[in-house]
Subunit: 200 residues, 2 copies
């Protein structure tokens, strides 16, 4: 019984993640969720007392997966290799999804940005953790002489995250690899150490 | 009578723009629109046969206003001044809105990105026009020795638009000027000519 419950709960989370990612929180109805997960209303409410509880569980689960993705993507023998591998991995992931759905964090930021405080705080924290991970790699690369040092690592990291979100948006809009590729290639060049080695 | 119709139509467009910007297309109901514009259903349908027609009219009107904004923002005696004035104007505009609502184009791209082809094409075209305007200024600045030349003007312009969209998203999420300011300051430094003047 316990195992069955875990399995039903996980199944609801998988389907809810897919639906929220594709249609947004507001665009997903209770009936969509019940149909996709193949369960009855009582079973859904047993696991998730409200749609908001379900959405927060979806975001919690997606956050864990995203942090695992960052662990796997930020790999390389130098800070520059780590950053480039992360950028290429992000592009590859969105390409595998056919540039459908975009970034769950960006979507939630835009859908909930002005409304639900719980969602906003959660998504802001995910962006903070993401930015801090990139900042650490950039700071290491600055110390190693691989990245420009005329801007703080924190500012460069915020810029990288902002540019990636914008690049994902453009590739999703056009269902085309090019905007995100162009954006990522620009980041690689813009961060290079020689860019800041001239005295002004 | 003609004057009254024009006025009603304009009034609906103003209120629909406000609602779509704040809640999205899917989050705005017919009743929301009727209540906000203070009209009856028949009057709404007289001017806009469907919600989709209304949304496209809202986007058309917003596009005109955005192109006027670009005309006023891209001012200065040099290309660098023009770009900086545009960046500062974009920040000032979002600050005036209290970082509520975000960018209508970014929102529509994220809300409609995978669905309605008519909306997607329209929004992609607005982003193209915007990027071309920025590209022209960057190309002038490259010729004048103000901007780096190791990346094509088109690529730098796409990067600028992507980074601004990401910066708007972050400032909206946190209702804080800082993320967008940090992003814009980074753009100004990253594009500087001396960044590419070193032989590799």
């Amino acid at each position: 019984m316990a195992r069955e419950n875990v399995s039903t709960k996980e199944q609801v989370l998988v389907e809810a993640t897919r639906l929220f990612h594709a249609r947004g929180f507001g665009g997903t109805s209770l009936n969509d969720l019940l149909a996709a997960a193949g369960i009855k209303k009582g079973s859904l409410y047993f696991h998730f007392p409200s749609k908001r509880d379900l959405a927060l569980s979806v975001l919690e689960r997606a956050r864990s997966q995203f942090m695992e993705f960052l662990d796997e993507a930020l790999l390389g023998s130098t800070p520059e290799e780590k950053l480039h591998h992360f950028l290429d991995s992000a592009l590859a992931m969105h390409e595998r999804m056919g540039f459908v759905g975009g970034c769950l964090w960006g979507n939630t930021a835009l859908e909930m940005g002005d409304s639900d405080e719980g969602f906003v705080g959660f998504v802001a924290q995910v962006f903070d953790e993401w930015t801090q991970r990139i900042e650490a790699v950039i700071a290491d690369g600055q110390a190693a002489g691989q990245f420009r040092t005329d801007l703080p690592a924190r500012q460069l990291a915020s810029h990288v995250v902002a540019a990636i979100e914008g690049g994902i948006m453009q590739s999703r809009l056009r269902k085309d690899k090019k905007p995100m590729t162009v954006c990522i290639d620009a980041i690689k060049t813009l961060l290079r150490a020689d860019a800041s080695s001239v005295a002004r």
